[in-house]
């Protein structure tokens, strides 16, 4: 009674305009508007503009005109674009597998009790915390054809006699950026999976041990299925980020050598901004969209299935 009396008295003090917010429909609109405006301004509008751009012949210094799907036809016939598509899938696929495997392994190690657990867990995050451009520059040094510390070490250990041109060879360059991406991405997997592991009651492992499950069986029948929802979400995030990666490749190779390491984002940038073919760059950017869309939809469906299991 006291509560209702109070709120009635308070609402009397409010101005008529504010009292309208007592109606849930008005309140919902008031609360949703800022988000809708922000999303519209910074996501929907640029996206829409991007679509228009990709359908035009705009280039730097030329507003251009509507040309339909011409840009898409053009990039379809572009061998660099095809390499880019392949690169992106290869880059995303290989790194995701390694990041998941190493991250899970690390998470399981970190889930044990040992001295200095908190500090180690914090340090693990370092590659993830350092701005990508900075850490990638450090890696660039390590892979530098002349000053490579990796070459130096291999040479001193007697494994090689001549320099390895890490970033000059197409395959080695790809491998190099894959290694760096794994290095950068493992902490995110490890920490997130660790959080997931910590939600699994130790009693379940004890019950399984008493039920006769050896360590590997406990992992396979208890830990892995219970960790699955978290794993799927982490993989989803990682795939989206890796698929659209830009900084790492841009800093390490700039898409080279001879366009061998381009991803969607770097090639779109090079063509759109570097060469000034804005509309073609936009078309390449947009070409990423259907692929990502399919990946995300499949994963979301799978996550829903696992979670309602």
């Amino acid at each position: 009674m006291a509560v209702t009396a109070l709120s009635a008295a308070e609402s009397k003090r409010l101005s008529p305009r504010l009292r309208r917010l007592e109606d849930e429909r008005w309140l919902a609109m008031a609360l949703l508007t800022p988000t809708a405006v922000l999303l519209g301004l910074f996501i929907a509008y640029p996206f829409f503009e991007g679509v228009l751009l990709s359908l035009s012949s705009t280039r730097v210094g030329d507003p251009g005109h509507f040309v339909g799907l011409k840009n898409f036809h053009k990039i379809w016939d572009d061998s660099i674009f095809r390499t880019t598509v392949w690169n992106t899938f290869w880059y995303t696929g290989v790194t995701t597998v390694f990041k998941l495997a190493l991250g899970l392994w690390l998470a399981i190690l970190l889930n044990r009790h040992f001295k200095g657990k908190a500090i180690v867990r914090a340090f693990i995050l370092l590659p993830f915390i350092i701005p990508t451009v900075l850490s990638t520059f450090a890696w660039k040094w390590m892979f530098d054809p002349t000053f490579s510390v990796i070459n130096w070490t291999l040479f001193q250990l007697g494994f090689i006699t001549t320099r390895i041109n890490w970033l000059g060879d197409p395959d080695l360059a790809m491998t190099s950026i894959i290694v760096i991406n794994i290095w950068r991405g493992v902490p995110f997997f490890a920490i997130t999976l660790l959080a997931g592991l910590q939600t699994i009651s130790p009693e379940l492992h004890e019950a399984a041990a008493i039920d006769g499950a050896r360590p590997w069986a406990r992992f396979w029948h208890v830990t892995w299925p219970l960790l699955m929802p978290v794993t799927l979400v982490v993989v989803l995030f990682s795939v989206i980020q890796t698929f659209a990666d830009f900084q790492l490749v841009y800093v390490m190779t700039g898409g080279g050598p001879a366009n061998a390491t381009h991803l969607f984002a770097t090639y779109a940038y090079q063509l759109g901004i570097g060469t000034g073919l804005l509309s073609e760059g936009a078309a390449i950017s947009l070409a990423m969209f259907p692929f990502l869309f399919v990946i995300v939809v499949v994963q979301l469906l799978y996550i829903r299935r696992v979670e309602t299991r």
Partner: protein, 363 residues
């Protein structure tokens, strides 16, 4: 067929000594309850029997073979956990089948066993459900089922009823008792609830601070507690304790406390005679205190002031003040008594307990 022997068992966690020289022989088909307040080492003892906790020193034997280094899966035990520990991603049937699958039982055998256990526990219609679709009581049954299907040598129960509401707990207690009578598997049961211990245990082990205080059947613990702790822990409402001094008068032994002067009965007097002039603790259970009548010998009567009247329906508990001490008496529910009433109470002399004031051991 399984006997469990625990010999000079100790457990240290870093510098904390939580289980101290526990000795216990558990016979085949016996239901033994470990009871004590939290931190008394009962759960740790159970976990050492399960193999979930390493043994610091001492031995555990199952059927005459030392299992100290044997991993849990090879001890042929089943455990029911406090939080049930059901695998959330498996159905009820899956939960029950898991232990059998791990032990490579044939599929038809697994199905037969699950059906039989489900029938015993009345959960046949839940087999396809997931644990989160079950109520607390149903989960408890599934946890029991998972233990039963294994047909192990020993059942271990770690406070299995403590997460259930009071009514369900009483019901499950009865069912557990029936289940044990039916299966006859050796069982070790940990609880902090003395009522559970008394009702379930063939024998009860009372523990405190890592030490075993007393081992005995429930009535033994109730009638002849080994020390003040056991006396106070077993029985509800708890035993009354009154600090007193012993004296001798014309060959009889007298216990004296402010507002109280009791003549000790024969056997007790004989044991207490050498302690004349020493401090002791008198113990008397509320059910052994009553309102004095003409038939009561004045040697066992004393005056009391009623402080609180607790009407329980089947009985009335009177919290009374006797000198500085509080004495609780259980009286007939028909009595009309109000607080601040002055009463004359009497006690059953043969039910009087005496404890050394220092060592707290029974005299």
């Amino acid at each position: 067929m399984a006997e469990v022997s625990i010999r000079k068992l100790n457990k240290m966690f870093d510098v904390t000594h939580v289980v101290k020289d526990v000795d216990l022989e558990i016979r085949d088909k016996e239901f033994v309850v470990l009871v004590g307040p939290s931190g008394c080492g009962k759960t740790t003892t159970l976990r050492m029997v399960a193999g979930l906790e390493a043994i610091s020193s001492g031995q555990i034997l199952i059927d005459d073979s030392v299992v100290n280094e044997v991993p849990p899966m090879d001890r042929d035990i089943a455990m029911v956990f406090q939080n049930y520990a059901l695998y959330p991603h498996m159905s009820v049937a899956g939960n029950m089948a898991f232990g059998l699958k791990m032990r490579k039982f044939a599929k038809p055998e697994i199905e037969t066993r699950i059906k039989r256990a489900a029938a015993i526990l009345g959960i046949e219609n839940l087999l396809e459900r997931k644990p989160r679709q079950l109520s607390g009581g149903q989960r408890q049954r599934v946890a029991l089922g998972r233990a039963i299907v294994r047909d192990p040598k020993v059942f271990l129960f770690d406070e299995p009823l403590s997460n259930l509401d009071a009514k369900l707990r009483v019901q499950m207690r009865v069912e557990l008792k029936k289940l044990h009578e039916r299966l006859g598997t050796t069982a070790i049961y940990v609880t902090h609830d003395q009522v559970e211990a008394m009702t379930l245990g063939d024998r009860v082990v009372v523990m405190k601070d890592g030490w075993v205080q007393q081992v005995g059947d429930p009535l033994e613990l109730y009638n002849t507690p080994a020390n003040r702790f056991v006396a106070g822990f077993i029985g509800s409402p708890a035993m009354n304790f009154i600090e007193a001094t012993l004296g001798e008068n014309n060959g009889t032994v007298i216990a004296e406390a402010p507002g109280l002067r009791l003549t000790l009965p024969g056997s007790l007097a004989a044991r207490a005679r050498t302690r004349a002039g020493r401090a002791v603790t008198l113990g008397i259970r509320p059910e052994d205190v009553h309102i004095a009548t003409d038939r009561d010998s004045p040697e066992f009567c004393f005056d009391a002031t009623v402080e609180v009247v607790e009407q329980l329906g089947s009985e009335i508990l009177l919290d009374t003040r006797v000198g500085p001490a509080t004495v609780v008496a259980s009286v007939e529910p028909t009595m009309r008594i109000r607080s601040n009433d002055r009463l004359r109470l009497s006690l059953k002399p043969e039910r009087l307990h005496l404890f050394d004031a220092e060592t707290e051991a029974a005299i």
